[in-house]
């Protein structure tokens, strides 16, 4: 049976697919990749469906051994990659022979990297998805981060040829990005000065950030009257502003509901970019309308469809 054997897991490597929608209403988050576009490109580079399961690694990648020949692709964070000791490319698929060892190092820029293998990872789905939700011990391999010695079953690989992402579609993680937000749902709970400060920034990513939420430090976002609300649903990208006026962007493993005011919501197409900001790096929140956001979303989908040559 075809397997991917984990020789070293890295600090936080999990199996992910495009997630587990439909269960937020009972408190189970969708999970899935933090950087959805990088994840989809990795799968497309090896001829997989967008939703095939692949590995997400945070800060530092794994060392893995293949039991049979596969096409692989690595996207996302800028990590040094070697195949059997020789340098190997990112954002480009290549073949690994049976017994080949692929090693991903520490991220120079960016945070999350994706390793897709032709045929996909074939761990048993939970609630219709292979995505790992570590806090809920659900999905992936035993609902946990991978460990040394784990052997992941692989699906049947179709015939695919190596491909690569065009140069202009490879993101530059050294840049401190502007992240698009739509104001609301509780922007009326802040002072005009507070909202102005929020949109001026910049905000520095804090090391306490994870797949549940990204914490930032920056100009105080002043409340008009208290930070508590009647608990409501927390959308992907929802920006909770806690007592000290500092923002937390809620991400793929977020709590389904919350009782803090939310100044704005990061647009779905910029969530992946938030997930690639290193602790200590900064970003700015830039306001768009819902209509503008939808236009950007459309063009981003088209760009994704023309990203591979």
């Amino acid at each position: 049976m075809s397997r991917l054997v984990i020789r070293d897991a890295g600090p936080f490597t999990t199996v992910q697919d495009l997630g587990r929608p439909g269960y937020l209403r009972v408190g189970i988050p969708p999970s899935g990749p933090m950087d959805r576009e990088a994840f989809i490109l990795a799968n497309r580079l090896v001829g997989n469906a967008d939703g095939a399961a692949a590995l997400e690694s945070t800060f530092s990648g794994p060392r893995v051994e293949f039991s049979d020949e596969r096409l692989v692709a690595i996207t996302g964070a800028d990590m040094p990659v070697t195949l059997d000791g020789a340098a190997a490319p990112r954002w480009e698929s290549f073949r690994v022979r049976a017994g080949g060892v692929l090693r991903l190092g520490a991220a120079r820029w960016g945070v999350r990297c994706y390793l897709a293998v032709s045929g996909g990872i074939d761990t048993p789905p939970a609630l219709g998805s292979r995505a790992t939700y570590v806090r809920g011990q659900l999905g992936g391999l035993g609902g946990r981060t991978l460990q040394k010695g784990d052997a992941l079953p692989l699906g049947r690989a179709g015939a695919s040829r190596p491909a690569r992402v065009t140069r202009e579609r490879v993101p530059d993680y050294t840049i401190e990005p502007d992240v698009r937000v739509v104001l609301g749902p509780q922007d009326d709970r802040f002072t005009p000065a507070g909202i102005a400060a929020f949109l001026e920034g910049p905000y520095e990513m804090l090391p306490q950030s994870d797949r549940m939420g990204a914490r930032f430090r920056g100009p105080r976002i002043e409340h008009a009257r208290g930070h508590d609300i009647v608990s409501d649903g927390v959308a992907l990208g929802g920006i909770q502003v806690i007592g000290e006026g500092q923002p937390i962007v809620l991400l793929v493993d977020r709590q389904s509901t919350g009782g803090y005011t939310k100044s704005a919501t990061v647009c779905s197409f910029d969530i992946g970019r938030v997930g690639q900001v290193k602790p200590g790096q900064r970003l700015r929140f830039r306001r768009v309308t819902v209509g503008e956001a939808h236009a950007i979303l459309r063009s981003r989908r088209q760009e994704l469809d023309t990203a591979i040559e």
């Binding site: 929608p21 269960y23 937020l24 209403r25 009972v26 739509v182 009647v230 409501d232 649903g233 389904s256």
Partner: protein, 289 residues
């Protein structure tokens, strides 16, 4: 006004909108929220990908490439006008066996002292009430409930615990809750249920749903152990009964008076893949009526 004359639509980024139906936390407003969610499911509204009910709002996730914002809000607005709680299938009554006091209910004595009641009386009062689940969330399977007897109103712990075992039944303020996963907590733990409100290994991992009624049944430690063993073996079937058809709770009416009829409950049914969690049992029971 408990319910807004017109719903408020609050954008939540590019893929979600919050439909807020009222100002206050009440069963009346919440029943409207659940009815709206139910209608959206029944009409299979194009572009809606997921819904999350809370006290007074429904968060609606959508695919903007299928449904535009203005058109979606207009459609949701017309559904709000039709969202009468009478449409909802009958509420379920879920029994939670609970062992009060001792090592499992390690704060029963302290809470009783604070309330000036004998511990047995606190347990009896707590188990005598009918609780209504506004919604489930924050952590997987955690119920937000109302219906606790007023005499059990108690300030939250001054220093929250760093860890509370799953299944712990706690009270704080006017609220009662059951910890679904190991987590920090500021509620006084009166007892523990051997049932799992969240069981990631089960085909249907969530026990409670928005709109359910919950009744606690006092059990002794020996029965707790026996049920816990059955739960671990996967052979325990929670008692879930069919309530009366929902009716609108009037303002000021005490929570949890809607359903009193007792009959043998259907065993918990496994949600099929693709079926939205939380509708499986209600649908099957509706069909069996």
């Amino acid at each position: 006004m408990a319910i807004y004359p017109e719903p408020r639509f609050l954008p939540c980024g590019d893929v979600a909108v919050s439909v807020e139906l009222g100002e206050e936390i009440s069963r009346e407003v919440n029943a409207r929220v659940l009815a709206l969610e139910y209608l959206i499911g029944q009409t299979a509204l194009a572009g809606v990908t997921e819904t999350v009910p809370t006290f007074r709002a429904l968060l609606v996730y959508y695919d903007p490439l299928v449904a535009g914002y203005e058109a979606l809000c207009a459609t949701l607005g017309s559904l709000v006008a039709q969202a009468r709680p009478e449409l909802l299938p009958p509420a379920r009554i879920v029994e939670l066996p609970c062992c009060y006091g001792g090592e499992l209910g390690f704060e029963l004595d302290a809470a009783a002292a604070k309330l000036g009641l004998p511990p047995d009386e606190v347990a009896r009062l707590h188990a005598s009430a009918d609780y209504y689940v506004f919604f489930v969330g924050f952590t997987p399977g955690l119920p937000y409930m109302t219906g606790m007897p007023e005499r059990l109103t108690i300030p939250r712990l001054e220093t929250p615990r760093t860890n509370t075992p799953p299944g712990s039944v706690g009270i704080g303020g006017t609220q009662c809750s059951v910890y679904s996963v190991e987590s920090p907590g500021g509620f006084w733990v009166l007892g523990r249920t051997p049932l799992r409100l969240y069981d990631p290994a089960a085909p249907d991992p969530i026990l409670l749903r928005a709109g359910d009624h919950v009744r606690f049944r006092l059990i002794a430690h020996a029965e707790f152990d026996a049920i816990a063993a059955q739960v671990a073996a996967g052979t325990y079937r929670p008692r879930i009964e069919q309530g009366e058809p929902r009716r609108v709770a009037r303002r000021g009416e005490r929570a949890g008076e809607a359903s009193e009829r007792i009959e043998q409950g259907e065993p918990r049914r496994v949600a099929r893949r693709g079926e939205r969690a939380g509708e499986a049992s209600e649908r099957s029971e509706e069909g069996s009526r």
